[in-house]
Structure formats: C-alpha cells, structure tokens
C-alpha cells in the first residue's frame, strides 16, 4: 500500500495519532478541572508519554489485558476505555469506569482489556503475572502487558514477578516507562543497573530499549514482544524512554529537574513527531489530521459534560461492591 509508514496501515497510523491526541487533550482538561476544584483527590498526568501507551496498546488485541499504574489515564484511553467513563471516574461519579469508587488510579474495564490499575508502585506486576498464568493454563492465546515506571524497577514486587513469569514462561510483556524520575528521584540515583533494560539478564528474558516518544518504534517493539508471548516463547522486558511534561501529580512539589531538560523533551513531542512524519510522507493531509484534532476536543468536552451531569455515589451504594454475595 502506498499509504504505509514502516509497513503500517494508514488506518492504524491515524488511529495512533488520534489516540495520542485524545490522551493529550484529556489530560489538559484534567489539569484544568483539577485546578478548578472539580476533580477531587490525587491524579497524575500522562502528557509527553503518549507514545508509549498508544504504541503498546496498538499492538494488542482487544481481548489482551493490560495492567496499569497511578499514572494510568493514558493506558486506559489507549486500550479503548470511553473517555466519558474515565472522566466520570475522575469526578467520582456513579457512571465512572469503577462507579466512582476507584478514582484516577484504579481503572478497570475488562470489556476493552483494562483489567486492573494499582496505585501501589510495582503492585500490578505480580498480579499481571497471575493473569498471564490464567491465560496460559487455559491455553488461550491472549497476552498481558504490565506497565510500570522506572521507579518501580526497584521494588521487590518487580523482581519476584519477573522471575516467576520467566520460570513459568508466561505470555506477558513488561513495559517500563522510563521517564527518568520517580517523583523527584532521578533514575541514576535510584537504580543501580547501568540501564534498566539490563535487568532482563536477571530473568533470562529479552530486554529491548525503545524511544518512547516514537510511537512507531514503540509499536514495533511491542508487536515483536507480544508476538513472542503469544507464541508461547515467554516474557520480554521493554524499556521505553520518555518524559513527563507536567509535575509528578497535580501539585507542584518543588524543583528537581533542570529547565533545559524539560524544554529539550518537549521538543521531542511524540504527537508532533508523528504528525510531521504523516505529513511529510504524504500519508495524511493537514485537513485529515485537523479533523481528528477537532473530534478529540469535542469528545473531551463531551466527557466533561457527562462527568458533571452524572450522579455521585453515596455510602450505601459503594457498600454493595465489597463482597460477592
């Protein structure tokens, strides 16, 4: 096909563009509404890292499962959660993906393959291994992705989980989003391995480094790892290097990053990069891309409206969901 970029279909490329833009605009609105006092609690933005979630999730089937983190909005949207339901969750409303009980950090929507998000750093990784075990034991050809940050690679949970996944050769891909910081802690001060990806050696699994701001590179790396997992060849560790533009969460926690580092990374915006390539290669026109941009703005506005208008759960309502009875 003439419209391919690196062998990818136009449809897929535009979908990746659209998803990244959706995440970007969604997160911008979250910041705005958080500041306006409409969104309670704590939340963590994904702006700047869109290439990772979108590249990885685009390489998955709908029935493959992902497990996410405190910084999970991007993963949820990339895997296909309706922005209305995600926004309603952030607003703490009954119509939210978790009925307002989970909030920003605990998205679950098995229908589209978002099985669970943990707010405990490293917490999802052992659970992801168990999900992969279930797939393997039932001889399903489904694959699991566990997302986590650079900081998470120093938790015991990471170590135990990757070891177990490897000895049991499970269909799982571990995606480390290395944005170089765990809150204020630079990866070079927290993580003794020369490169995070070197930790794959410890589990005798392939380790791959990828530019997380190049969504196509991410897609290709993920597709290879997913393929390997689906064929029963076991897990892979992917280290996707990227950067968060915002502060760790919604509060300013002080200065711990050099200005020019932030500026440098903003120049490597994953969305602009893809947009430029699509235009230069003639795969899409300005008009096409602008219409996606508008669609996204509309969808996010719609999500806000939906969230605002939805009802808040009360105590009796939430009590129903503790036990299966």
């Amino acid at each position: 096909m003439t419209y391919d970029l690196d062998g990818l279909s136009k449809e897929l490329l535009l979908d990746m563009y659209y998803k990244m833009m959706l995440i970007r605009r969604f997160e911008e609105k979250v910041v705005e509404m958080y500041r306006a006092g409409e969104i309670p609690g704590i939340a963590h933005g994904y702006i700047g890292e869109e290439g990772v979630a979108v590249g990885v999730c685009s390489a998955l089937r709908r029935d493959d499962y992902i497990l996410s983190t405190h910084r999970g909005h991007g993963h949820s949207l990339a895997k296909g959660i309706d922005p209305k339901h995600l926004m309603a969750e952030l607003y703490g409303k009954k119509t939210g993906v978790c009925k307002g009980i989970g909030g920003s950090m605990h998205s679950t929507e098995p229908e589209v393959g978002v099985i669970f998000s943990s707010a405990i750093v490293g917490g999802n990784i052992p659970i992801a291994v168990g999900v992969a075990l279930a797939f393997k034991m039932r001889r399903e050809d489904r694959v699991v992705v566990s997302f986590f940050g650079d900081g998470a690679t120093n938790t015991g949970a990471f170590h135990e989980a990757l070891n177990l996944a490897s000895v049991w050769k499970l269909p799982i891909v571990f995606v480390c989003e290395n944005n170089f910081y765990a809150i204020s802690m630079h990866v070079s001060k927290s993580t003794s391995a020369k490169e995070i990806v070197d930790r794959a050696v410890s589990y005798n699994m392939p380790g791959v480094v990828v530019d997380g701001n190049d969504v196509i590179a991410v897609y290709n790396a993920a597709a290879a790892a997913v393929n390997r997992a689906r064929k029963g060849e076991g897990p892979t560790l992917i280290e996707a290097r990227t950067y968060r533009w915002l502060d760790h969460g919604m509060y300013y926690l002080g200065k711990y990053r050099p200005e020019d580092e932030v500026v440098m990374w903003k120049q490597k915006c994953p969305i602009r990069t893809l947009r430029d390539r699509l235009l230069i290669k003639g795969i899409a026109t300005e008009v096409e891309l602008n219409s996606l941009d508008e669609k996204v703005v509309h969808e996010v506005d719609e999500a806000i409206r939906f969230a605002r208008e939805s009802a808040e759960p009360d105590l009796d309502f939430v009590k129903q969901f503790v036990y299966v009875r």
Partner: protein, 329 residues
C-alpha cells in the same frame, strides 16, 4: 456404620482434591507443595494426581505468590495459594492488604477475586519468634476478605470447600499443632457456610469463646468443670470474617459470663473485638467482667518452658472460670 475419622491434614487434603476434581479452575501454588507434598504434607499426593500444572511449586517469592493468585483469580481461575508459615504472609503484606481485599471494590464490582490463601501458624513447635506467629485480628480489621480459623477436621474440610467455592478472597488459617488431630469427617460431600459460629458444647453458666486450637483446650476444661457442676458453653467462631455476632451475643445473654481464650497476643487481638461486641450489645446481661486469656504481649520465645507459659492453657482457663463465677455471686 461408624463415621469415618480423618486427621485435620487429611481432611484439608480431601477438600483440595475434591474441589480440584469438581472444578478445573481450581489449582494450587506455593513453596514445596508439589514434589514433596508440602512441608506439613497437606498437599501430599496431589502433584502425582494432578500434575505440575495444577500443583505448582514456586520460588520463595511470597509477594509473587499472592499477587499471581490474585491475578489468576481476576482472570477467572480459582487459585489456592499456600504461604508456608503465617509469619511469611507479611512478606506479601502489600498484596494481602492493598490488593487481595480491595480489587473487587475498587473496580466497582466488575472483578471478582476468588483466591484462597492457605497458611498455618506453628503452635507448640518451639520455632521462635519468626515462625510462631498468629495475628488474625489484623486480617479481621481489613475489610474485603474472609478469614477462616478451623479447629477440627470436620470444620477444616467443610470450610475449605466453602472458601474455594465462594467467590470472595479468603485467608484460610490452619494450625500446625492440629494437623495430626483426628475427628469424624463424613464420606459425602458437604460444605460449612462461611459466617456461622459453632456451639461446640452447650452450657448455662459461662460462655467460652475459643479460637482455633483453643477450642480443644476449652472443651477439655468444660468437661472437667462439668464434673464440678459448672456448665460451660464453648463457642468456636470458625470464621472471623464474616463474623457471627449473633451466636456469640445470644450465648452471653444466656450465660451472663464471657471468657475468651485465644492463641494470639492479647492486646488488640481477636478477643478485644469479641469483648467489645459484647460490651456494646450484651452489656445489660453481663453478670461479671469479661476475661481474656491470650498469648502474652511478648514475641514468642524459643525456650520451651517459657513458650508454654506464654500461651494460655487449660489450667488458666479453669481457674479463670471459677473466679468469674465467684465474682458474680
């Protein structure tokens, strides 16, 4: 036809085996549970019968064991994971408190976590402070998971089967000192509903709330007290969550006296909750102060004499009951 007798360990093994035969989503995982059948031999023979896929030996990775059990459960399996000693359960502390009991809830009811975590505490094994702990009150304090504490082979089998069939997460706490104790276990399939205390002996003068191993101590004491004309009711909660308040409160309303005997630490132990319930709900019926007999508030010592004295026992129970009955006259 006399009822068949089994040991507590055999009863547990039967429960596991029957549920594995009944439902192929059920599988086992844990340290040394396969090839050698568990260090306490509870899973003996199951590896041979069901193979390494369904009886999975694991590395020493408690966090990964509990985490993987949770993951398999939310993906539709029914894992039964073993943590060799209750002391090591906190090596998986994050999974046990932040994940196991909260995932269903946090998902707004979209997920179920039908995982069972089996563990045991090592009473009278003289294995010192890191291999002798029992802290069920903590698991009772964290909502979202069921907690079983069987004291007999019959209860062990019936509760384990219920725990496996039920779709909520469970921490199933066995007692190593009971593994070889025998008791009647019917041939036919049965389950014990979770949340029903068992009146192990009826009585009029005093209620003894006895936890796990201490049920046997209480029954033996009750026998002796009976000879002296004191009628003792022995209540075995069997599950701590759900907790059967009704049986407890009704018993205390009847007897007017409560002695608690438990092998966990006294301060903030299970007995504290039991006493508090009674102080709230049967206050008007109490004829005497509530008495708690529990393990001392020190870590378990190794030296056997000190260790034995650290635990409550029959003698202390009998003398407490006698004193109590005097107090209220």
């Amino acid at each position: 036809m006399p009822v068949r007798e089994l040991t507590y360990a055999e009863a547990l093994r039967e429960a596991l085996r029957e549920e594995m035969l009944r439902d192929d989503r059920v599988f086992l995982m844990g340290e040394d549970i396969g090839v050698i059948g568990g260090v306490f031999k509870v899973t003996q023979g199951l590896y041979e019968e069901f193979g390494q896929e369904r009886v999975r030996d694991t590395p020493i990775s408690e966090t990964a064991i509990v985490g993987a059990a949770i993951g398999a459960a939310i993906a539709g399996m029914k894992p039964v994971a073993e943590i060799m000693y209750m002391d090591f359960l906190m090596c998986a502390g994050d999974q046990v408190i932040n994940h196991l009991p909260k995932i269903r809830y946090m998902s707004g009811g979209k997920l179920k976590v039908p995982a069972v975590i089996r563990t045991q505490y090592g009473l009278y094994r003289y294995a010192a402070a890191q291999h002798s702990q029992f802290y069920p009150a903590f698991l009772m304090n964290i909502p979202g998971m069921y907690v079983e504490v069987p004291s007999t082979p019959y209860d062990a089998k019936g509760l384990l089967k219920s725990a496996i069939r039920d779709e909520n997460p469970d921490i199933f706490i066995e007692c190593a000192a009971l593994y070889r104790v025998r008791g009647p276990v019917p041939d036919e399939d049965y389950v014990i509903p979770l949340g029903q205390a068992d009146v192990k002996r009826e009585g009029r003068d005093v209620t003894v709330f006895a936890l796990s191993y201490m049920v046997h101590v209480a029954l033996s004491a009750a026998q002796k007290l009976g000879n002296e004309g004191i009628s003792t009711e022995v209540i075995d909660p069997r599950t701590l969550n759900p907790f059967d308040k009704k049986t407890l409160v009704e018993s205390v309303k009847k007897t007017g006296r409560l002695v608690i005997i438990e092998p966990d630490h006294k301060t903030a132990g299970v007995g504290a909750e039991v006493a508090a319930i009674v102080a709230e709900e049967a206050y008007d019926y109490l004829k005497a102060p509530i008495v708690r007999l529990a393990a001392d508030d020190i870590p378990p010592p190794f030296a056997p004499k000190a260790y034995n004295a650290f635990l409550p026992n029959e003698e202390k129970l009998i003398s407490s009951i006698k004193k109590l009955i005097k107090h209220s006259k």
